[in-house]
């Protein structure tokens, strides 16, 4: 039996012992009876299900990085190193400079376009936090081969992307867990919490208009003149 399996058995037995202990205590029996009679969710008695998560397991899965840097692993990487990794692992989709190939996402550029008719939303122009770059690359990229990069590689790639977006100016800059939170992205302050209930208060209408509400409408746009709707032949085959 492996060490892990032994620990699981031990944890399971501990849980059984806790349940057994509770079921023998008269006070707990009364509480359980009351709970059954009223509502089993009214109080919060422990069900004794599940088992403790081991530190190795938490380390394996808890890979998220928060905006304040919580979760950053120990590691380091330079812009130059990131450039090499990016060309090998990322450029096929995202382009040599993060400009995006074909329909694949652009990661750099677009700064100052957010008020434009067609905004170009990239890491540099739109994203508020550098931590998101690290967290997302680490958990989900490269597309089709996720979680294959080391912490050092993710630091290097993050440095390269921030260099492509002019957040980091020096290509010898080494990004690590200590200096990470000093980075600030250009659009960091341009987000605010949902304010629909105040900003869109006028959509709460007591008596909406029923009669003669507007002038006779005219058609000003038609989906068929754009003609981008898939036809009935393009759906999945069903046999």
């Amino acid at each position: 039996m492996s060490r892990l399996a032994k620990l699981q058995v031990a944890a399971g037995l501990a849980a059984v012992a806790i349940i057994a202990g509770l079921s023998l205590a008269p006070a707990q029996q009364n509480a359980a009876h009351d709970a059954a009679k009223l509502s089993s969710t009214k109080t919060s008695p422990k069900l004794g299900l599940g088992r403790p998560a081991l530190p190795e397991e938490i380390n394996a899965w808890d890979i998220d990085v928060r905006a304040d840097g919580q979760g950053l692993p120990v590691g380091k990487g330079t812009v130059k190193q990131g450039d090499e990794i990016f060309q090998a692992q990322c450029a096929a989709c995202h382009g040599e400079f993060g400009q995006g190939n074909g329909r694949w996402p652009a990661l750099a550029g677009g700064i100052g376009t957010l008020k434009a008719d067609r905004p170009d939303k990239t890491v540099g122009s739109f994203w508020p936090d550098a931590s998101t770059v690290f967290d997302y690359i680490r958990r989900a990229m490269p597309y089709g081969n996720a979680q294959s990069l080391s912490a050092d590689e993710v630091y290097a790639l993050t440095a390269y992307l921030l260099s492509m977006n002019d957040v980091i100016k020096d290509e010898n800059f080494e990004l690590n867990e200590k200096n990470f939170t000093s980075l600030k992205l250009p659009n960091a302050d341009a987000f605010y919490d949902d304010d629909r209930e105040t900003a869109e208060k006028k959509f709460w209408v007591k008596e909406p208009c029923m009669k003669n509400c507007r002038s006779a409408p005219k058609v000003i746009g038609r989906a068929i003149s754009i003609d981008v709707t898939p036809d009935s032949k393009s759906g999945p085959k069903v046999d």
Binding site: L49, F126, P236
Partner: protein
């Protein structure tokens, strides 16, 4: 007058009066129906195959599928929308469905790294972070907990998002089909959190998927403790793989992206994480260049599913207008329908269950004499919110917010019955 018409005089008369078309062409249609019946129908007078020969036995369909005559009722995708089909979306065929429950096999899909195929025996759910005791659960553990059932809609935040700049896609499947409504069975998230014991400083949870996207989102603790379910079943059976089998989050009334599928981990923290899906995506860019974040709730919305571009009117005379309304803020209180592009409205008939944060079905039974119509529907919910027009939304938000387009849809029904997605001004 038929019994049916007598039973619904308001629908029959009021709908037409609103547009000033009362009583048009009705007697003529009645005679047409009588004429058709003068020649004997061979489907009645001749013995058909299915009346003579044996059909399939009970051993032939251990898991039934729809009739072969319903092969067109399928999810469809729009290939140009995304760079790859594994991080993409398809659409529920709303125009072919009735009532409020979406059949599991037709519920739209939205994945970020394709469908994870997970043996439930191999699935684990971890709770860690600001808890007294980090825990690991198996699916068997979760199925030993007190269960809850609820019906609610799941709407993608981007539903109707392609329509912000005007009419683009011709069919309610494409303009409104990123929504489904099923009965979920699972356990209250609170039950699991109580097992681990939240620390007082825990204000947010991060939900994370087990797929290759490792989809992660931050969820405020108030919502988590209120009505969030971790579901293992939909419509009475196990979740479909594409809907997160064996375990997904159900976050009633809130944007679909938060409903993390293949849920493997929940971390408690004292602030949101600012993940990719709540910064780069699922933030709403407004005209001034700033963006709303944490726009969780899906506002009141409705759409007429029939007639619609994929379901044109085929006959004059008696017809059924059918549609769906829903709100993330509560129950649907009323749905109004217009056939003259919003000049005049009449209140539709709601039929079937009216449930909190669920699709709700409405009807107008009407006579059509072949006149052109601009059909609209307008939902009102229990919070007093009235579904706005697209123009009203654009005035507040501009045209680049991508998500949360709940503006009123217009269908132009032409005199030949063909129906188009149009924008009116």
């Amino acid at each position: 007058m038929s019994d049916e018409a007598a039973a619904h005089p308001i629908n029959r008369r009021g709908f037409l009066r609103a547009a000033g078309l009362a009583g048009a062409a009705l007697p003529g249609l009645a005679t047409m129906a009588a004429a058709e019946a003068q020649k004997p129908d061979p489907l009645i007078t001749e013995v058909q195959d299915w009346q003579r020969y044996l059909g399939d036995g009970v051993d032939k369909r251990p898991y039934g599928v729809p009739s072969k005559f319903e092969k067109h009722v399928v999810r469809r995708d729009v290939p140009w929308l995304t760079a790859s089909p594994e991080s993409s979306v398809n659409f529920t065929p709303l125009h072919e469905l009735e009532g409020i429950i979406t059949p599991s096999g037709l519920c739209f899909e939205r994945h970020h790294s394709g469908v994870a195929e997970i043996n439930p025996a191999d699935h684990r759910l971890m709770i860690n972070g600001l808890v007294e005791q980090p825990l690991v659960f198996t699916m068997n553990d979760i199925k030993r907990m007190p269960r809850v059932n609820r019906i609610c809609f799941l709407e993608c935040a981007a539903n109707s998002g392609m329509e912000w700049r005007g009419a683009q896609l011709n069919g309610c499947q494409f303009t409104h089909g990123m929504v489904h409504n099923v009965m979920y069975t699972g356990v209250a998230l609170k039950t699991l959190l109580d097992e681990a014991g939240l620390k007082p400083k825990a204000r947010w949870l991060m939900l994370e998927g087990a797929d290759a996207a490792g989809m992660n989102r931050s969820l405020p603790i108030e919502k988590a403790l209120n009505d969030v379910i971790l579901a293992f079943a939909m419509n009475g059976e196990a979740l479909r793989p594409e809907q997160g089998y064996p375990l997904r989050a159900v976050i009633p009334g809130w944007e679909g992206n938060l409903w993390v599928k293949w849920l493997r981990r929940i971390e408690a923290g004292d602030q949101p994480w600012q993940t990719r899906e709540e910064t780069s995506k699922y933030t709403d860019l407004l005209a001034d260049g700033r963006s709303r974040r944490y726009t969780f709730i899906m506002d009141a919305k409705s759409v007429v599913t029939n007639p619609s571009p994929q379901a044109p009117l085929k006959v004059k005379g008696r017809n059924v207008l059918s549609g769906l309304a829903w709100s993330g803020r509560g129950t649907i209180k009323r749905v109004d329908v217009s056939i003259d592009g919003g000049q005049n409205w009449q209140t539709a008939r709601i039929d079937g269950p009216v449930l909190d944060k669920s699709l709700t079905r409405f009807y107008v039974d009407f006579d059509w004499n072949g006149q052109e119509m601009m059909i609209q529907s307008r939902a009102m919910d229990s919070s007093g919110y009235v579904q706005p027009t697209k123009e009203e939304l654009r005035k507040v938000r501009g045209v680049n917010s991508i998500y949360h387009n709940n503006g009123i849809q217009t269908w132009l029904v032409r005199s030949n019955g063909e129906t188009e997605n149009v924008e009116i001004g």
